[in-house]
Amino acid sequence: MMEPGNVQRSTPNVQRSNAEGASSLDVGRWTLDVERSSERAAIFIRDVSLTFPGKRLGDEIAVLDHVSARVAKGEFVCLVGPSGCGKSTLLNIVGGFLTASSGEVLVEGQPVHGPDPRRIFVFQENGVFPWLNVRDNVGFGLRGKSKEEREKTIAHYIAMVGLTGFEDAYPRELSGGMRQRVEIARALAANPDIIYMDEPFGALDFITRLKMRADLVRIWQAEKKTILFVTHDIEEAVQLADRVLIMSKRPATIQQVVEIDLARPRDLDSPRYLEKRDEIFRIMGMSLRVGETLSV
């Protein structure tokens, strides 16, 4: 496994290795565990940089600076970082909605060329279609399927997210949490290999957020999908993830990776939980005491 704390900025001149992500990879000074990399990675981000043109001609704003990371199949990985650091941008590149300036992203061993129905995105601003009711929203990714199969799948996932009885309701009639459940059900119903989630619970109130997290973990355990989850909420990351990738300020890179080896369901009062949480806070240069700032 990786040693937290000794990961540094990867150097730009990374050697290219073959696209299949073979037995051993040199990514900067990381040496990835041979056993883990031998199974094909679900997501493999190598040396990705992104710059935007600035306001004046010739100006360039660097958003991502040689980011490298790796998500294994079936893994739940959270991506955290200070707000505006580019974590959503990175997720959009992985999802195929943005193209990196340099570097490459391999998903299931294939370079990403655009959005793909095998990997479904759950959006921060809720992408549930307001003109469709819950049933039709959940069935949106099932266009090719037979009627019985569709209905069975829809009913199954509506039940899984706890919306049975609301099949005919329209999104405007639902609460924010319920709408987010519809979007998760829609993503699951399409039976993707990977689900990308971009701060999906950001707009919800505290209690709803806690409940949604518990439900998401339950669903993930049942479905065994790979999830790459962006959040700015450190507690959320520690509650959900197998591993947490911590990004630095802009131009962002992966600052450190923290393994959360806590059994589920997680006890939010256990010393191990608090220890992990505090470790991430520390890495991100934040104090746990209100009114005090640590120097980084």
């Binding site: 999802g95 959005p115 793909d116 995105f121 992408g127 307001p130 469709l132 949106f140 999104p171």
Partner: protein, 263 residues
Amino acid sequence: MPRPALRTAHATTLLSFALPVGVGVMFLLGWHAAVRISGSDLFPTPVEVGRGLLELARQGLLLKYVVASLFRVSWGFALAVAVGVPAGLLLGWYSRGFQAFNPMIQIFRPISPIAWIPVAILWFGVTDAAPIFLIFLASVFPITVSSIAAVQNMQPVYLRAAQNFGLSRGELFRQVILRASLPQIITGIRIALGVAWLVVVAAEMIAVNSGLGYLIIDARNAGKRYDLVVAGMVMIGVIGLVLDLLVRQLEKFDEVRWGYARR
């Protein structure tokens, strides 16, 4: 949604009916008084207008004229929707097309249908096609422009969700772009229907021999029949109100209701 208590709901409905009726009655009284006080011999009182309307109804002309005007507006407007909505969706989606056609649309848009009357007569003669053409022209630009804006203002998240599910171009247009822009398109259509109906008088100045616009022009020819002129105005206004109420019903469907702010 929370519902107000039954009695309050009742009172609200009653009030929402009584208020506009009250204003209407006040208007009629004011009108009557103004004619009486000014001693005008030409301008009719509401009573005279009512009598004129009755006379028209008894002759069967009122129904004929209303039908003729509605016929022209229905077809001109239906054609405008059939052309304007698809054109707006395409131009809203393809920015090159928008760049190419938008200046032309903006040039044609402010031209009053009255200016088109000579063209309409030269192209279509004095048939029903001429007023239909004028009504089409008056309504197709507002519809196209609002459809373009609807697509351009569409929330990008719907588009990205749709792209994520791997929709073909046709599916994307029918299932997402059209559906996402529909509320705004319907608002545009409502405004355009008002414009279409507004233009009916001008459109029927062409020598068609029926319609509410014709009624007004014919009444001017008829000497001192200003009661019929105002009767035509009243009918146009009342039917315009009914048409607007009907189109508003479209906004109540679940498929578009999300697009209107709840009050």
